[in-house]
Structures are given as structure tokens and as C-alpha cells.
């Protein structure tokens, strides 16, 4: 740790060159300036007349909405709801509809939305300005504009504090072998990227951290857990300490002192605490201030509790809670500043991992070799050249949740989890009686390995992710597979049966994945009795085409009892087609009819009513091809009906009924079937060639994979994840360069990542007003 602290001794916060302390403007009550009716008459009324009133006039009133009688006095407040509605429709480009004869220019549209927004904000209404910072609003920036080449930046991120993640906090605990505490950061929750720079620390952070701190202090100061087993399962090798003794002599010295602590002992303890917790040495001023605090605390509560107070104070400091990216490098004429070398080291480290800078990064800072774009590129490439083999062979057990980050460069894998959203597979509750084999953690791991196997090749990564059927299912390493096979032959494999040997002799490799998975692989259509387990993985799996047909993704985007074509369509629209779907309007009854005789496609008929279809036409046709899988992700090409013409439950339930009838020697259970309709349609791909009706999920995925817009949408999401914010038009050069790097390298994700992490958006900071 001491190395690390040395190089950051420059101090991240010490320098105040970065941000001029602006004088606080005292808040003054804002008087509402009433709407200038001349503006309304000159600009807005003609716009409404030209584009809206035809359908929303006195007589037409489409969707029960009229605008012909609206007066321009927005600030009077009587038409707030209508103005808000109009604003939303214009903002997401939903109105006027495509079918309308004429459309406003983008500039017109922007002018009008800005006017309405301003007027609404005068009276405290209208959209919350901060919402555009949230990931779900990322697509509001016009896609064509971003990739038009018309915007030349310069790109930068705002100088910022970026709240650390729960994962960084866990890593901190692991690195010091601290007992696991409560995460001090309340989760963002919801779908989408979890780690954005607009997240805040709050009172809950303080409460949690104070609880944690006293437990941590027990370890740091008393060494209670000094010799526990590490993550490798082996006990700490260094010498045993006697209880009540710290690993750190500076702390022991204070506790053993018989009289008032000397200034030297105090400052040594403060220095040690800084190095341990914020990875740097204190400045002289900090040493004095924290020293004084420590002395006072010892006077009140004795050495042990005084020290605990010091550690707690540092763990509550903004530097411990927030990553600091102020841009402490030299200022350019345009006001931007590059991150300083220590800032760069942290930015790179936290871009790829959950740990502070590794030794090489520290050395680069110390030797002055982390100052340029080229230096950053060198370090990023070095860190990306790492094997993930350890994670492949990591065996899932009941503690899998806490080991989800066991992959090197965990943030890279986490991007794919959060982009595709298959990490939600844990959140969708499925009744055990409908399929006792369902084990989300195994599907999750399979999906991880599917991603990693594609990243390993690093060619046409997105294309592969969208179309490959080469999955990894219930993986064991070839070496372990070989051993297991030998043991089965010798009748010594602990969890195998005589049947396994029989299968083996018949030329079928029995399932070699760990027994804890049970038969979860039935989700892929494999059966224990007949599956010839592939030792070589990944391997082609029938009826699958990319991540969106992976059981993990399908379950994560399903309901408790049903598939969910709407959510799936929405996902594609927003993640692959860079489009925005308005939230469900309040007052709409979102539930589908309950009718055991109808398929989901039939139930969705309800959404084809005109007022629903305006939004649903953007989702349903994209989601319906996935009806080729049941809500556990198992392939199906037929709907099964009971004799009463009711839908006959899950595969498992049908099998159970058949088995039961057989056991009870009842007449065979009869089902009638009908082929499943998996047709759909693609719109908005940005290419007339690709748009159109699709015959099934294969067709849909192949078309999506060929779309430039889909690729660019993927780049936009990667940008958001690594910059921790939504893109703006200033970031256009960064996005275009990243897209180009990806295309030029035959779809290498590494090259895309290097482009992003060496871009101005990543390296440059500027104070925002």
C-alpha cells in the first residue's frame, strides 16, 4: 500500500488550481415572468397550426386530445397537463406521426420544445432537468446527429465526483481482509447501468459506514481476523498476532503508550491511516487537522476508541466515498484540463476493475510515464491482456452471489451483464412447481461464459453476441472432465450413477458439470438421459441465435408465469435501435386479460387498439418472434392444449402429468397442438433493406446484426457505461472514432474500449457552469 500512497502524495484534493471556488449566490425568491404572448403568437401558434391541429382540432380530437383552444399563457397554469403531454410527444419525436403529411425540421422541433420547457419551468413544472442525466434517457440525443460528423466537440466530461460502487467497497474489504459489512451505497436499482456519476451518497451512507467502521476497526486495530483464510482458502501465512494487536505498528505504538501520545506517534498513526484508506500521504495541513482530531478523541475515549474515530472519519471522507476526477492537469486554451497522472491511474483502474491502481500503474505515475494519451493506451492494453480462465473453472455453489465478481477485469464482463440485462435473471421469481429444474445462477454463469468466449476471439463481437449459437453450458474444464470420466469408468465418481457408466459405454458422454446444477440444462432442451455432454465448449446449440435467445436473457426478460414480448421488444428498441418508448401512460390498464384458452399473442390483441398501438407497434412485432421459447427459455415450436382447449402449462408440468398417469395406470394424457406463430417485423433499423416483416427469431437477429444503427447503438451504450454518464453532441467525435476503431479492427471489443478510454471524453475535464 505504501507504494500506492507515495505516488498520489501530490494529493487529489490539495490542489485548488482546478476549480475556482465560486462565490455562493444567495438564493432569492424567483418571481414568475408570465409567458410573453407575442412569442406564442409568432412562433408557437403557427407551429401548432401547421403540424398538430389537423388531428387535434375541435372536431378531430384524436386520442381525445385537442390543441386548437390552448392559449399561450403557459405560466397561468391551467393547461399544464396538455403542455406537458405535447412536450413529451415532440421531444421523443412521436408526434407528428410518420404517416403525417409534413414534419417539422429538427431545429424547429428543438426550438418549440425549448420554449415549452422554459415556460413550464417558470412555474416549477415540466420535465425534471436532471432526468436527462439518467441512463434511461440516454437515447434522447438524436442518433443521426451524433453520427453525422457535423459536431466536432471538443469532447470532455464534467469535472466530477463519482460515487464509488458497492463492488469497489467489497474489494476494499477483501484487500484488507475486513469482515463484510453493509454496503454504504444504497443501490440505484432498476434496469440499465448501475454505476453513473450522478449517484449520491446520503445519510444512509453515513449510518452504514459508521456501523461498518467499528467492525473494521476491530480487525485493523485488534487483529481479530488477522489470520483468516483468504479467498484462496489458505490461511494467512504471515506470523500470528496476539489478540488485541494490530498489523500496523503505528497503531500499536499509540495503544501501548503509557502517557499522553507524542506528536510523532500521532502523526505516524495519521499517516498510516491515510495510506491504508485513501492510498496517499496526508498533506501537512491534513496531518495537523486529523492529528488534532485523533488527540482529542484519545483524550475522550482512550487510544483504541480514539483510533477508531480516526479511521471512521477517513472512511466517511468524501475522498473515500467518491472517486475524484477534477482534471488537475494543465488547462488548455478552451478551458479543458486533462486528468493528472494519479487521477488517470484511478480512472483506468476503476474503468476495468474494482481495485485501486495496480503496481504497474503506480510505477508509471511515479516514473512520470502516465501523462499522455499514448501512456494511457499502453496501460489499458496491458490490463486487457489477461486470461479469464480462472472464472471459467470457478465452481458454482450456494455462495455464488458473493463470487460474481471473480472474473479478471470484472467491469468489462459487468458491462455485458448490464447492457443485456441478463443479471436480472435472479429477480424474476418462478414457481418451483412449474419447473423445479430452474436454477438462475447457472444460467447466469452460462451467459457470462458465452460472452467471455466471444471476447476471447474478439472478432465481430456484437455480431457474434447477436447471432452465435455456440453456447457454453454447465462447463467443466477438459482436464477435470477427463478425470471425471476416468472416475465414472472406475465407478468412483462420487455423484454419478450406474446409468452414467451405461451411457458412457453406449457412446454418450454423461453430464459432467457439477451436481449442484441439477438438471437446469433442460432449459436448453437437453435431457439427462440423452444429452451427449460436449467436453469441448463452446459448442453449437440447436434453435439458438445469440444472447437474446439465451435462457438467461429470456428469463430475465419474462414475467412470473409468461414470456414478455412487450418488454423484449422495448429492450430491442432502446438498446439496439437507439430509440425511445414513452413510459406507460398513467391510467392505462397495463394488465392483459386472463384467459387460459389464449396464447400470449392472442392476449396481446388488446394492445392493437388504436390508442395502444401507437406505442405497441414499436415493441410487440420485435418481441413476438421470441415466442419460440417458453418463459423458462426452453425452445418450443408448438402450443399444447388440454382437452378443454386450455393452454397446457410448462414442459415440465406436461411431462409430470404424463408420468403420473402412467404410474397410476390411467389413460394416456392427451394434448392437441398448434404450431407457434413467431412472425414479427423490424422497423427503425436505419436501412430500408433490413426493415420489414420477419419470419422468425433467426431472421430478426440476422437482420439486426447487419444494421449499422444497431452497432452504433451498442457503441453508445459502451460509451455511457465507461464514461458514467449519457452522451451529448460534444461527444460525437468520441463515438464516431470508437465506432470506426471497432469496424476497422473487424469488430474487436478491445479496440473499441481502447478508443473510448483514450478519448477526450475520458481524459479531459471541464467545469460546467
Amino acid at each position: 500500500m505504501s507504494n500506492l500512497s507515495r505516488f498520489i502524495a501530490l494529493g487529489l484534493l490539495v490542489s485548488s488550481t482546478a476549480s475556482a471556488a465560486g462565490a455562493d449566490t444567495p438564493g432569492r425568491a424567483r418571481e414568475v415572468t408570465p409567458t410573453n404572448l407575442a412569442d406564442f403568437d409568432n412562433q408557437i401558434r403557427p407551429f401548432l397550426a401547421a403540424y398538430c391541429i389537423d388531428c387535434h382540432g375541435k372536431d378531430t380530437r384524436k386520442a381525445g386530445f385537442r390543441l386548437d383552444d390552448i392559449d399561450g399563457l403557459v405560466t397561468a397554469g391551467k393547461d399544464i397537463e396538455r403542455w406537458e403531454k405535447a412536450l413529451e410527444m415532440l421531444d421523443i419525436g412521436d408526434m407528428p406521426p410518420e404517416s403525417a403529411g409534413k414534419h417539422p425540421t429538427k431545429a424547429d422541433r428543438r426550438r418549440i420544445t425549448a420554449w415549452i420547457t422554459d415556460e413550464l419551468q417558470k412555474i416549477g413544472r415540466g420535465p425534471d432537468a436532471a432526468r436527462l442525466d439518467r441512463p434511461e434517457f440516454g437515447n434522447r440525443v438524436d442518433h443521426e446527429d451524433l453520427f453525422s460528423g457535423k459536431f466536432s466537440g471538443p469532447a470532455y466530461s464534467p469535472s466530477r465526483l463519482w460515487r464509488k460502487t458497492s463492488q469497489i467497497h467489497r474489494e476494499f474489504e477483501n484487500s484488507l481482509r475486513l469482515p463484510q459489512g453493509t454496503s454504504p451505497f444504497s443501490p440505484k436499482g432498476g434496469t440499465g447501468f448501475q454505476d453513473y456519476d450522478n449517484l449520491l451518497a446520503s445519510e444512509a451512507t453515513i449510518i452504514a459506514m459508521r456501523i461498518n467502521a467499528s467492525n473494521y476497526a476491530a480487525e485493523i486495530l485488534d487483529g481479530r481476523l488477522t489470520n483468516p483464510r483468504g479467498p484462496d482458502g489458505k490461511p494467512e501465512k504471515r506470523g500470528l498476532l496476539r489478540p488485541g494487536t494490530s498489523r500496523y505498528r503505528e497503531f500499536n505504538a499509540l495503544r501501548e503508550a503509557r502517557s499522553e501520545p507524542t506528536p510523532e506517534a500521532i502523526s505516524a498513526a495519521v499517516r498510516r491511516a491515510f495510506e491504508l484508506l485513501v492510498y496517499r500521504k496526508p498533506t501537512a495541513a491534513e496531518a495537523t487537522r486529523y492529528g488534532e482530531f485523533l488527540r482529542k478523541s484519545i483524550a475522550i475515549g482512550g487510544a483504541a476508541r480514539g483510533l477508531e474515530n480516526l479511521l471512521t472519519a477517513l472512511m466517511l471522507s468524501s475522498e473515500f466515498i467518491y472517486r475524484q476526477e477534477l482534471g488537475l492537469g494543465p488547462e488548455l486554451p478552451d478551458g479543458r484540463r486533462m486528468l493528472s497522472p494519479p487521477e488517470l491511474a484511478f480512472a483506468i483502474a476503476y474503468a476495468l476493475t474494482d481495485s485501486p491502481p495496480d503496481e504497474q500503474l503506480q510505477r508509471a505515475v511515479a516514473e512520470g510515464k502516465l501523462t499522455s494519451r499514448e501512456d494511457v493506451e499502453r496501460e489499458v492494453r496491458r490490463m486487457l491482456a489477461v486470461s479469464t480462465h480462472g472464472y471459467w473453472v470457478y465452481e458454482i455453489n450456494h455462495t455464488f452471489e458473493s463470487h460474481r465478481e471473480a472474473c479478471p477485469n470484472p467491469r468489462v464482463l459487468r458491462f455485458f451483464r448490464e447492457f443485456f440485462g441478463y443479471d436480472r435473471v435472479f429477480d424474476v421469481f418462478k414457481d418451483e412447481s412449474r419447473n423445479p429444474h430452474h436454477k438462475p445462477q447457472f444460467l447466469f454463469k452460462d451467459a457470462d461464459l458465452f460472452v467471455l468466449s466471444i471476447l476471447e476471439d474478439d472478432k465481430q463481437v456484437l455480431n457474434q453476441l447477436l447471432t452465435s449459437n455456440r453456447y457454453v453450458v454447465h462447463y467443466v474444464s477438459p482436464a477435470k472432465a477427463k478425470t471425471k470420466l476416468e472416475q465414472i469408468r472406475a465407478g468412483k465418481e462420487r455423484n454419478s450413477s450406474a446409468d452414467d457408466l451405461k451411457r458412457l459405454n453406449a457412446g454418450i458422454t454423461p453430464v459432467l458439470g457439477g451436481y449442484r446444477g441439477g438438471q437446469y440444462y433442460t432449459a436448453y432442451g437437453f435431457e439427462k438421459e440423452t444429452w451427449n455432454y460436449p467436453v469441448e465448449q463452446p459448442f453449437p446449440v440447436d434453435h439458438r441465435v445469440g444472447m437474446l435467445t439465451h435462457p438467461a436473457w429470456l428469463v430475465a426478460h419474462s414475467g412470473n408465469f409468461d414470456t414478455d414480448p412487450i418488454r423484449r421488444g422495448k429492450w430491442i428498441r432502446e438498446h439496439l435501435l437507439a430509440d425511445t418508448i414513452p413510459e406507460i401512460p398513467i391510467g392505462v390498464d397495463a394488465a392483459l386479460v386472463e384467459d387460459p384458452h389464449k396464447t400470449l399473442r392472442e392476449k396481446l390483441e388488446k394492445t392493437t387498439r388504436a390508442e395502444c398501438w401507437r406505442c405497441h407497434k414499436q415493441m410487440n412485432p420485435l418481441g413476438l418472434p421470441f415466442e419460440a421459447y417458453d418463459d423458462f427459455g426452453r425452445f418450443q415450436d408448438e402450443v399444447f392444449y388440454t382437452v378443454d382447449r386450455e393452454i397446457a402449462g410448462t414442459f415440465f408440468e406436461r411431462e409430470a402429468k404424463i408420468k403420473q398417469a402412467k404410474q397410476k395406470k390411467q389413460p394416456e394424457v392427451q394434448f392437441t397442438t398448434q404450431p407457434i406463430d413467431t412472425r414479427g417485423a423490424l422497423t427503425g433499423s436505419g436501412s430500408a433493406e433490413l426493415d420489414g416483416d420477419v419470419k422468425d427469431v433467426q431472421d430478426l437477429m440476422q437482420r439486426l446484426a447487419r444494421s449499422d444503427r444497431v452497432r452504433q447503438s451498442f457503441v453508445r451504450h459502451a460509451f455511457r457505461y465507461w464514461m458514467g454518464r449519457n452522451e451529448t453532441l460534444n461527444d460525437s467525435p468520441t463515438l464516431m472514432a470508437a465506432d470506426k476503431a471497432y469496424v476497422k479492427s473487424d469488430g474487436s471489443f478491445k479496440e473499441l474500449l481502447v478508443a473510448l478510454l483514450t478519448s477526450d471524453s475520458f481524459l479531459m475535464r471541464k467545469d460546467e457552469k
Binding site: R160, G190, A204, I207, A313, G559, A590
Partner: protein, 468 residues
């Protein structure tokens, strides 16, 4: 009874461990001045999972009236006097005059596709998907901020034995701001009463805490000076956290020694591995905190679907499993408990446990005179489920049990049956929450989202039927 409140507190401390009282001073002053309206109003929300079934809460003889399938087309009111409450409500019989049973309020504005609960929507009346951050303030937070106290809002969650603090999807102070809930009774005890103990070690601890908070306020301010505006704002938020904790400390430290009574004694329940014991400890802590005037609003996240009721002999199945047992509503698929307990039986056991806790809390409040009545007269306890009337919710009916009358503003001792969803006269959770705000003296014109299928006007009104 002519005891002064102070005397009562002393005897109270002997029986339950007692409580220390600060705002008591304020209340006694209010009393002396004869100004009853200044007495604080208190609200306790008990949120349970798995639905609160109408058949399980209506008084005997009215069972058929409550269920959804017997569609109500008009409002009906029944006095509880002379009627026996449901068998699981035995402990509330002596408090019958304080009880209101409400059936038929809808919450479709909070309906989500996941049938297992409306998350923040239960108390917020807006759509809140599973796992999503809250969109706006919930009613408990709204009441709490209107009636601030040392602890503006106190949350307790059953949780697991190793949980300390959690942020369940129940209460929110605003968009994205989940409120914390104590899972560990020990931790709650320390935070609520730690600084008030006479114990020297604890006192030194609280002095250290004060030093720490002062230091942090100073430290964060220093850092803030060096930042540009947007980050400044971010740190302001953090700073406010320290300041509110420090203010709390100061308020706790200035409590009048004369009204300081012993704090609840820690029992085995505080660290029991049995979840029901910890919930009992939570109710003890809540009673003490309310009586001490440390808070005016408490929310219990009484159980969740992953949890077990091993303390009630139902440990064999999770609560979710119990929800899938057949009862007369025929949602179930799972088999009964090994001892034959079925869905109806298991639900009765859980409900009785929760009603007993509520009755216990109400009795403690009733034992403390306040103004011309007791603390219970200025309190309202609300029991409801985040999935309304059943395990798989349609969010069309949120049955509830109320105990207390909010300064005698509510007329009690009744069963109120509102017209079913679909009728124009159907009323909503939003209206109910408006009633609470009005009763607390903070009336307003809307809370949460409107259900556009129902007339808007009535949704912007409190429920007149509740009021005296």
C-alpha cells in the same frame, strides 16, 4: 385516571423498560395551556406481504360481504359494537372502540405487472416496478416531513439475523431516496437510546460521535470549497446527512433530565435468531420511541415473501410458499404443511401474530394519558398489504385495519365496505392518504397518481366516511 404523564412514564418504565422523553415537555406545556391541537399526531404503518384477505379481517357474520367476488355496488357501514371480531383479532377485542376495518379501496394507480407487490407504490400511489428506485415521496415520509421530530421517520424491517440495515422498496423521502429500515434491534437501540444511557462507556461513545460529526461537517465543507458548482451540490447532499445526524445528537443531548426515564431493557429478543422475536423487539422499540416523542412516524416492513415464520411453527415454507397454499380464494397450487395446516390456517396464524403486536403497541399508547385522553387518541396504526387483498394482486382492493382515531378526528368502531373497483363510487388509496394528511392538519389536494379510469374529483378528496 388522573396520573400525570410523568408518573405514568415512571410506572411504564418499570413494566416495559420505559422510555425517555423530550418532546414530552412540549406536550405537557401544550396540555397545561389547554391547547389540544398542538399535541403531535402519530402514524404507524405496518406493511405485510402476501395480501390481507377480506375474509380474514371482517367481523364474524359479515365474511361473505368482504370478498371481491361479492361485488359491492354501494358503500355500506357496520358498527363493530355487539359484533365479534375475526378470531385472529382476539387481542383487539378490548380496543374495539378504536378499530376501523376498511375494505374496497383500490390502488390501480400503483398497479404493476409483477403481481407480488406494489413496492413503493403501496405507500406512494404510483407505479413502482420491482427493483426500480422510488419515483416520489411515500405517505409515511410525507407525514413525517410535515411533523418532524428527532427521528423524522423510523423504519423497522424483520430482515434476517445478520442484516443491520436495509432499504426495502417501501418508503421513500423523494425521487430516488429510499428510506433506511433497521433490521437489527440492537442497532436501532444504539441509535435511538445509546446517547441517553447513563452508562459511562456509552456516553463516552456518544461524545466521540459528536466529535466525529463536527469534524466531518468541517471536513466536507473544506472539500466543498475547492469544487465547482455541480460537485458542490453533490457534497451538499452528503453534508446534509452529517448535519441532520449532528442535529439529532444535539436534540438528544438536550433532553430534559427530569423526563428522562429508563430506556427499554435489552432482552434476548434483540439478538434472537428467530425472526418473530426481532419483530417483537422492533415493536417494543417503536412504542418507546413514540412515547418518548423521538418520532411521530414509524413504518414496519413486517415481513417479505422470502422470509420464514419459524417462530410461529411455519418455518417449513417461505411466506411465498404460504401464499401459494390453497385457501378459499383458490390461488394455490402447493401442498399443505406436513401437520395439515392449510392456507387458511397458516394465514390466520401470521395475521394473529401481527394483530397481537399491533394490539400490544396500542395498549402501551393507551396507557399514557395525553391531553384529555391518551396517546392512542392521537395516533393511528394502519395495517395493509403491499399486494392488497391477495398473494397475486390485481391491485383493485387494499383491505386495511386501522387502530386509533387521530385526535378523535376519525370515527371508529366500524367496518366500512366501499363499492368494488369498476363502480364510479369506488374510492382509492390516494384518497385514504389524503384523509391521513387532512387528519394530521396538513390537508392537500392530491397525493400520488390518479387512476384515470375513476372520476378525478373524488380522488382529490379525503374519504368523508372516515371522519367523525
Amino acid at each position: 385516571m388522573t396520573h400525570s404523564r410523568r408518573d405514568i412514564l415512571k410506572t411504564f418504565s418499570a413494566t416495559m423498560g420505559g422510555a425517555l422523553m423530550a418532546p414530552v415537555v412540549r406536550q405537557l406545556h401544550a396540555h397545561a395551556a389547554g391547547d389540544e391541537t398542538k399535541l403531535p399526531k402519530r402514524f404507524v404503518f405496518v406493511i405485510r406481504a402476501n395480501g390481507l384477505r377480506p375474509w380474514g379481517i371482517v367481523p364474524e357474520g359479515l365474511e361473505k360481504i368482504g370478498e371481491d367476488r361479492h361485488r359491492q355496488d354501494r358503500f355500506a357501514e357496520f358498527s363493530l359494537a355487539g359484533r365479534k371480531l375475526h378470531s385472529s383479532f382476539a387481542s383487539l377485542e378490548p380496543l374495539k372502540d378504536y378499530v376501523t376495518i376498511v375494505n374496497g379501496l383500490s390502488g390501480r394507480a400503483a398497479a404493476v405487472s409483477d403481481p407480488h407487490g406494489a413496492n413503493f407504490g403501496t405507500l406512494g400511489v404510483y407505479r413502482s416496478m420491482n427493483g426500480a428506485p422510488p419515483a416520489a415521496k411515500t405517505i409515511d415520509a410525507a407525514l413525517a416531513s410535515a411533523m418532524p421530530s428527532v427521528f423524522t421517520h423510523l423504519g423497522f424491517k424483520m430482515g434476517t439475523a445478520s442484516d443491520l440495515i436495509a432499504h426495502p422498496a417501501v418508503s421513500a423521502a423523494g425521487r430516488g431516496r429510499r428510506l433506511p429500515f433497521y433490521c437489527s434491534p440492537m442497532l436501532a437501540y444504539k441509535e435511538l437510546f445509546g446517547s441517553l444511557a447513563k452508562n459511562e462507556a456509552l456516553q463516552a461513545g456518544s461524545q466521540l460521535d459528536r466529535e466525529l460529526l463536527d469534524f466531518m461537517v468541517d471536513d466536507v465543507k473544506r472539500v466543498k470549497q475547492k469544487l465547482a458548482a455541480p460537485e458542490k451540490e453533490k457534497l451538499d447532499h452528503y453534508l446534509k446527512g452529517f448535519e441532520s445526524l449532528r442535529d439529532r445528537q444535539v436534540k438528544l443531548a438536550t433532553l430534559d433530565d427530569n423526563v428522562r426515564v429508563h430506556i427499554p431493557s435489552i432482552t434476548d429478543k434483540y439478538s434472537s435468531p428467530v425472526e418473530t422475536h426481532r419483530l417483537e423487539a422492533h415493536f417494543d422499540l417503536a412504542a418507546a420511541a413514540l412515547i418518548a416523542g423521538l418520532t411521530n412516524v414509524v413504518t414496519f416492513d413486517a415481513d417479505d415473501l422470502d422470509g420464514h415464520y419459524s417462530g410461529l411453527g411455519l418455518g417449513e415454507k417461505s411466506l411465498h410458499g404460504i401464499g401459494h397454499l390453497a385457501d378459499d380464494f383458490k390461488v394455490g397450487r402447493d401442498s399443505n404443511f406436513a401437520d395439515g395446516t392449510d392456507g387458511v390456517g397458516a394465514r390466520n396464524i401470521v395475521r394473529k401474530f401481527q394483530i397481537d403486536l399491533i394490539a400490544g403497541l396500542a395498549q402501551k399508547l393507551k396507557a399514557v394519558p395525553e391531553g384529555n385522553g391518551t396517546m392512542l387518541d392521537n395516533t393511528l396504526i394502519v395495517l395493509l398489504s403491499d399486494s392488497g387483498q391477495q398473494h397475486h394482486a390485481n391491485y383493485q382492493n387494499f383491505p386495511m385495519v386501522l387502530v386509533g382515531n387521530v385526535g378523535r378526528r376519525f370515527k371508529t368502531g366500524r367496518f366500512l365496505n366501499y363499492p368494488s373497483y369498476g363502480h364510479d363510487e369506488n374510492r382509492t388509496l390516494g384518497s385514504f392518504y389524503l384523509s391521513l394528511l387532512a387528519a394530521a392538519g396538513h390537508a392537500r389536494g392530491s397525493f400520488g397518481e390518479l387512476d384515470l379510469r375513476l372520476p378525478a374529483a373524488s380522488q382529490r378528496q379525503p374519504l368523508p366516511e372516515l371522519f367523525a
